[in-house]
Symmetry: C2
Subunit: 283 residues, 2 copies
């Protein structure tokens, strides 16, 4: 079950039910439109049914349950948000956030392995936080974070140092980017703010400051192409649309509901999901 | 959503999802396995989602919610059981019981219109009570009720007189049948007890006492044919399997979830449901 409010725009049922059908899995993903005030009650009640494996969450529910979860993965803890909750063997609710891992998998899909790269992350909200955790885990050499609220960027860096630091101890160089320091040494830019959603939004960064070999990913889903993507393309920069981040999360969701074998055999399905999201970008 | 415990045997999702698919209705019926102790919480939470129209109930949940319902139809009130609950416009839970109407529709399907008939009902439990309400509403001239517990039969007759009496005032002759009075004036027998489910069960009535023109309906679903059906067939009596009662309820369920147009165009679908239930009789 995937819960949101609204939920009509959510593409997950179309995507996952086609996968279940093709692979002969006796499961169905059902959308539930649940008001925020009712969501905690709803989630606990639904996860009390013996044949409902998990609840997948979209806006506004990704942050609602966080304080009630017994267990969370690191990305969820740092971002304060979850993509999915389930009931653990001991009855406790456990949550996971896949956005960041999805973005790193997308980078590999584009042959942009992030290990050792200098990365600028624009946006320190929930999505940005999830991505930051995954980039640290993937071994970037440097992570600069920009946010319209510099305090929010600094707090994200603190949470990364508290929760997401590699066991080895040698993490990346972490800095808050003030918007003025030069960008010509950045290898990769990830854009994770809503800027571009409205026609009169400014660009989230000055594209002209990037070096010609830099790659850009814009996780804004609409409009396609986004204003940032168009500006990068005009300048001849390599630019990628963010919905690949969603494509690459499909196996994560399947593993979370106990279908790891299925998660491993999805090459054809992911091509189809990619085509589906190109023609119906998620809201 | 249809809730039971267990729920694996329930045929409703296969039946209704095929109907939704064929008619292009954007809806899905999902089974939920819910422990009885958790059911009240579950039902209220699920019906709080804006896109979940109703909850359909099977064993053991048909009786669980009855005391919490704001509104019930007459059959539900007399039987103390519901097949379906939904949230009314004012937020109150409302329930309905379709078993009895389904049985009367099945009688019409077999061209056994019950109006003016003398009927023996064997079994005064939930199913028997639902059927009794519908038979009174259909204008039977006489209703004799037998139950292994004569007190239970008498209480059913009292509830019928209190709740189900026709507005005109001229209801049928109601009696508790003691198992000894002659049966040779009975037109129609409805069997609504579990007798026959186990191999060593006695027959629920002495078939030899029925007159040759009498018709018999056995609503016991398994085994098919039931012992009573076999005994009737051996004696040359007209006998019908009870799953037609389920077939004929399909439109009731669709009307309950706000799909009256669909409920009116099901001739082909009901033939298919009939074939489905013949090959996979419900538990």
């Amino acid at each position: 079950m995937v819960a949101g409010d609204p939920v009509r725009q959510v593409q997950a049922p179309a995507i996952f039910n086609r996968i279940f059908q093709r692979h002969g899995v006796d499961a169905v993903l059902v959308p539930a439109q649940v008001p925020a005030a009712h969501f905690s009650t709803f989630a606990r009640a639904v996860l009390g049914a013996d044949n409902i494996q998990a609840l997948w969450l979209t806006i506004p529910h990704k942050t609602t349950l966080v304080d009630e979860l017994g267990r969370m993965d690191t990305a969820a803890r740092v971002a304060g948000a979850v993509n999915a909750v389930r009931r653990g063997a001991d009855g406790q609710l456990e949550g996971a956030l896949f956005d960041g891992e999805g973005l790193v998998s997308a980078l590999h899909h584009w042959q942009l392995a992030p290990t050792g790269q200098r990365v600028l992350l624009v946006g320190a909200g929930g999505a940005g936080a999830a991505i930051a955790v995954a980039l640290v885990a993937a071994g970037v050499s440097e992570l600069r974070v920009r946010d319209a609220d510099p305090g929010r960027a600094a707090r994200l860096l603190q949470r990364l140092q508290a929760h997401a630091w590699p066991a080895s101890g040698t993490g990346p160089r972490l800095t808050v980017w003030d918007g003025h320091a030069p960008l010509n040494d950045v290898d990769l830019v990830i854009h994770a703010t809503p800027l571009g959603l409205h026609a009169d939004d400014p660009l989230p960064l000055e594209v002209a400051d990037l070096r010609p070999g830099a790659a850009v990913v814009d996780i804004l889903m609409k409009p396609q192409a986004t204003p940032l993507m168009r500006a990068c393309a005009e300048r001849g920069l390599t630019v990628h649309p963010g919905f690949e981040m969603l494509v690459q999360q499909v196996p994560d969701y399947l593993r979370f509901v106990g279908l790891p074998e299925l998660a491993g055999t999805l090459a054809q399905d992911l091509s189809e999901v990619r085509r589906h999201l190109m023609t119906a970008p998620p809201g």
